[in-house]
Symmetry: C2
Subunit: 430 residues, 2 copies
């Protein structure tokens, strides 16, 4: 092995990217592997899912972000295991030796053991899921326009969102805006404003990580957008016909799942203790037990924080951890000590429809229009941080102001779409 | 049936849209059916295929274009036949009665009877094909970066474009620019500039519909971009390994087909004479024989023109025909006569890479940079005509100037991508 140490980073999300950026230009070789070719700005996925943004506006090819960092190599590939004793990452029949390893593979949707719901209720964790949801939503209105059957129309125009955290709240608000505003003039036989959006949360309030007052505000704001909020009862079943919520059955052709995430693979790969969601229990310096050169960061890491809780799986946390671990590695190479990781929680935020948001900055609360502008600025700041072209931001603001319709495409195999559409256009007197 | 006449238009491409626009606001009911939900600006598809534009920048939801035309209804559905005697369009088990019918269903890729090539060499006629090509192109570079096998690397970095018309010329130039400019800094183990682009044309020159001098210029300009041009020999076979061109076999993992189109269905639906490509032989007023209330327009129509030729399958022609037929219908309803359709050929244009174009305006020829700017303005004019937001144009110009990378996404099922990628990253001394 050459004299320069090699850091292998698995995962090009917020955590992996932050680590790679800090190591760029340093005297270390960095290999960044991801099974996709792009870095994704996940917080805005719900806008792709509701046809407000195109995928290309929130994702950037990973390798081009590092094209001028000569010590950073990016590979598109899938890691299948880790050989800890021999310090190697495994990928199919191939191996990659490392001096330091950062596992930043993130989380995927969890159906709490009901994996058969996966085909019926899409999660929202990557671009493909977002565009599949988008297609489902847009097709629902198209199919309803074609339909002669009132019961079928009703099913098609019912949208159930499961999970009252930020993902569910943001999806519910955005779907309500889609039906009540963006699409409202475009149909002749249905009225898109007849669409029902039902948001289901098992606990007794929305946005459980936020203060109670903001939970209450969020509920009222969603209801003013026409969203029906169901609290205190979990979803007990999902079928092709609809969703069972306690005693209530809602016929629905569209179910979106934002109720849980889990971490796959790492427990198998490392054989280290993990929590119920699969997150690895890391040391104070984010390394795994007995291997101070292997780190787990981001959504995949279980880090005690606060009053018996853990560091939340949000973008700012992953970024802090990525930066910390990169610093830790540089210190280790230089022989200096690093203090334990200390998470600095800036706050939480969530949007409600197109014009409102709730923000909790460690007790300082903001809500409504002002909060939404703050949210907008925060995201622009984030996007600048990801070196997104200035134009993306201009376009984003522009499209928000003028309700760009361009992202409302149904694409994909025609046979998938055609079989889903009932072309039932009868003659009728007008 | 109500007193107001009903015009059914099948197909929301340039022809169908032009007809619908002319009939919007008139005293007639218009029903516009398309199997997709969007109108597509096909001339720029090659830029989606080479990751310069996102789909949403060249496609708009059809129904939102007509949202304020109360006499126009848009349905997403698939027509399966026509009952001419009873004046009905058939769609599965459903029927739609019409007073006038405009068939504007366009053309699809033709492999000249070698349909088994379809899975190996994608055409470029809709968004799904364009994004599939894009994925293929980007994955090729990713797989080459991962590969340990020189022969495999060579195959992956060979790109064969079949067909020397505008589609092939534009694709070849754009792929060359992708490898030699856009991606050139982004890889560490391969040099994207090693990519070979081979453009194959069976006849003795590129752009057969253009003057010879522009054909010659195009060849030189492509060669200066590094494209290898093969004239005078058709492709005789395409396999997973590559392409057979006469005696020459080129190992290639990437084959794009731009060599032919055909018209499906209409001959079966109408039982009227069609040419070898399936285009219906229409009357001077673009109606079909014996049914002066049924019209075929656009790529689907065979209209004699010029010296034994036919009206070309290009956007301006389809638009003229759409407008003409709408006028013909209004005249028929008013009892006035319409002169025969007369095609006014403005000219041909094609781009070569990012900075050059060739334009033939009925003998007045333009080439190079100036032609490219002219082409840009013409497309902006077209886009304005389609009521694209001003921002699309600003963005388009911006991205051209600054080589936006945002559209370079590989999406779709991970299992499709993962199986295609050989994650072979070996330790190696640097």
């Amino acid at each position: 092995m050459s004299d320069r140490k090699r850091v292998v980073i698995v995962g090009a999300g917020f955590g992996g990217m932050s680590a790679a950026k800090k190591l760029a230009g340093k005297n270390v070789e960095v290999i960044l592997i991801d099974k996709r070719n792009h870095h994704l700005f996940q917080p805005l996925l719900y806008q792709v899912a509701t046809a407000d943004l195109s995928p290309a506006e929130i994702a950037w090819p990973t390798r081009s972000i590092f094209s001028h960092a000569s010590n950073v190599s990016v590979f598109m590939g899938e890691v299948t295991g880790i050989d800890l004793p021999n310090r190697r990452v495994l990928s199919g029949e191939h191996q990659l030796e490392y001096d330091y390893l950062i596992l930043a593979t993130g989380a995927v949707t969890s159906y709490f053991g009901n994996d058969h719901w996966a085909g019926l209720a899409s999660g929202l964790k990557n671009i493909t899921e977002a565009t599949n949801i988008r297609k489902r939503l847009l097709l629902a209105f198209e199919q309803a326009e074609n339909s002669q059957d009132d019961a079928q129309k009703r099913r098609l125009l019912n949208f159930v969102v499961v999970g009252g955290g930020p993902t569910g709240v943001e999806m519910a608000g955005a779907i309500a805006e889609l039906g009540k505003k963006a699409l409202s003039d475009d149909f002749r036989r249905i009225d898109p404003r007849d669409a029902r959006v039902i948001l289901v949360e098992a606990s007794d309030r929305l946005l459980g990580a936020f203060p109670q007052s903001l939970s209450d505000y969020t509920r009222q704001a969603l209801e003013s957008l026409g969203v029906e909020v169901r609290l205190g009862t979990p979803v007990s079943d999902i079928t092709k016909q609809g969703v069972q919520i306690g005693e209530e059955f809602i016929p629905a052709a569209n179910v979106i799942w934002g109720a849980g995430v889990q971490v796959l693979d790492l427990k198998d790969w490392t054989q280290k203790p993990a929590d119920r969601g699969g997150r690895i229990l890391v040391e104070p310096d984010l390394s795994i037990p007995d291997h101070d050169n292997v780190f787990v960061i981001g959504d995949a890491a279980h880090i005690p924080w606060g009053d018996g809780g853990t560091v939340p799986g949000i973008a700012p946390a992953a970024k802090q951890q990525g930066k910390y671990v990169a610093g830790r590695i540089l210190d280790a190479m230089a022989g200096t000590k690093t203090p334990a990781f200390k998470y600095r929680h800036a706050g939480n935020l969530a949007t409600i429809g197109r014009h409102r948001a709730v923000i909790d900055l460690n007790g300082f609360k903001l809500k409504g229009w002002l909060a939404w502008w703050f949210w907008g600025l925060a995201h622009i700041y984030f996007l600048i941080g990801m070196r997104a072209p200035a134009l993306v931001m201009v376009q984003w603001v522009w499209s928000y102001l003028f309700r760009k319709k361009g992202a409302r495409l149904i694409t994909g195999e025609d046979k998938d779409n055609a079989s889903a559409v009932v072309p039932a256009v009868r003659h009728e007197a007008r």
